[in-house]
Amino acid sequence: MNPFDLPPRTPDFEALVKPDRVHRSIYTDPALFDLEMERIFGRAWLYIGHLSQVPREGDFIAAWMGRQPVIMIRDGKGEVNVLHNRCPHRGAMLLTEERGNAGSVLRCPYHGWTFRNNGKLMLAPLRDGYAERYRMQEDENFSIQKVARVETYRGFVFASLAPREHPLPGLIEFLGQAGTWIDAIVDRAPDGEVDVSGGVHKYFVRGNWKAQIENLNDLYHPQFAHACTSDKQERQFKRRYGDESGAHLDVAETGSTWDAMKVAGIDWGLSWCDPLPFNHEARGGPLVEEHRAALAKRHSPERVGEIMSERFHNVIIYPSVVMQLASSHVRTIRPIAPDLTEIRVYPMRLKGAPEEINRQLVRYLNITHAAGSLIQTDDVEMFRRVQAGLASEGRDWVWLNRYVDADREGAGADGVRRAPGTSELVMRNQYRGWLRYMREGTP
């Protein structure tokens, strides 16, 4: 029922997304943003947090599913629940700290409604005022709303607000081959688990969330946007312990060595890319050897070699999170408004690794992915410039046509679409996912 008898808000998506370009309004239009919050962030598997952030009963972290506030909290049975951060009574936000321990009960400060840490109502004070027929302890309308679809992969908790009839598959199927890249990151930990409780970097992007997510497998931009990070030999500063120097940013008139790397995309907008041109073969030193030794206690020499090999750079689990192998971290993307996005970057420490390795992971992440880092600040400046530039109506289109004829989309028997590194296939693949979400799941 539409009480105002308005025409349904269904824009002509095909007029906005072409095979080789997208309309500028996709980044600027508040109505489209609202629809994205409903149909993308209100449906997709969104990364909420990691189990290591809530090790004990009552531990919670705050998170967002699009614009909706939720908490991830461990209950008395050890289960991790994702709850809407809203009192069922009058709507007050229950927890206003980013993390903490709520103990065994949550109490709304407004009228004292009290809940178990799994969200179930224990009592509403002054019960004489409530008629017997409400049976409030049994009726789930009086408990904190749980997010129904919650699944965990290797300790990473995802949740979805999709209704049952939505064709979004279960988490494992949704991740597809992207799951193997999460494995590759987690397997670097000798104990087979990562720890995501080592603090967080937080920064604002004065731009649209898609500008950020379109950048993460964009191998066309580094040699230009990050020119200031390299020396006269076009070598970046060191980004990891054990390296001699950083990535090679070559700028050539015609081809790029970055095309030797590959980018790849799968359904629902997920993607990844090959390792960046650090001098991986030259990586070494005592810490790398200690890491190998720690892994060798659990794995065969062949397996240790596989784990320590550089098989990819990062994996984008569209639309909410990216995980990176080289600078071990999880990065979340939170849209706030068409022109405002919050990014959070959490170091992933490797359980069972020598302490000095984890110290160095934390240390180098300050340099590469902090609000004041030497690399992210370049990107965030570009996203800001994109948003500022798109205020111009001088042109309608944003071009994503690089290597469009080389797309072998859908060609791979494994369902993976691959292209040379500087291709914009990843963005085109994201818009394939975008369209599918906006059409409520129709491919």
Partner: protein, 175 residues
């Protein structure tokens, strides 16, 4: 790099605070005037700069920091700020820092090094389109200072913003 942030037991301070204040004023001025190389040279070779990302953060090793630069990273950061293509600083930020409420917290018996607390305000302006960036940072400095002829060298500097755990627009400058 692994030096403890709080050193060995200290004696009651007898040091004259005036040269300390003069040093802090000079240090702030080097940053205000973007004389980053001269500022960097104030640090001892094993010195470092730390801006925690959380009140109560006990060390820069077990969790993320806003900045944690040893001399090598300082050199990288400054080289980048000097690069002609540092687009995030085209146009560049201008800033001014005010340092006050200076007190000598510790004077270390063996080394003679001083731990100094002060309070700072910093205003930054970047005259960029479409809107200028204008913002205030405020917080506490702690300096470990080593006497050097008539002046001091910085063993470490810790800058704790009042809002160190906030979400920031990109940070370009040392506080």
């Amino acid at each position: 790099m692994n030096a403890p942030l709080i050193g060995s037991p200290a004696t009651a301070g007898t040091a004259d605070i005036r040269p300390v204040e003069a040093f802090l004023i000079r240090e702030a001025r080097l940053l205000d005037e973007r004389r980053f190389e001269e500022w960097q040279a104030l640090f001892v070779p094993e010195g470092y700069y730390w801006a925690p990302a959380r009140h109560g953060q006990t060390d820069p090793w077990s969790e993320s920091s806003l900045m944690f630069d040893d001399r090598e990273i300082m050199a990288n950061r400054i080289q980048r700020l000097r690069h002609p293509k540092v687009y995030a600083q085209i146009p560049a930020s201008q800033a001014t820092r005010q340092v006050s409420n200076v007190s000598i917290e510790e004077e270390h018996a063996q080394t003679g090094e001083l731990t100094v607390r002060s309070v700072f305000f910093m205003f930054e302006h970047r005259a960029t389109l479409p809107q200028p960036l204008e913002r205030i940072f405020a917080g506490e400095y702690r300096h470990r200072l080593r006497r050097e002829a008539d002046s001091f060298h910085i063993v470490w500097k810790k800058a704790t913003l009042v809002n160190c755990d906030a979400t920031f627009d990109p940070l370009f400058l040392y506080f």
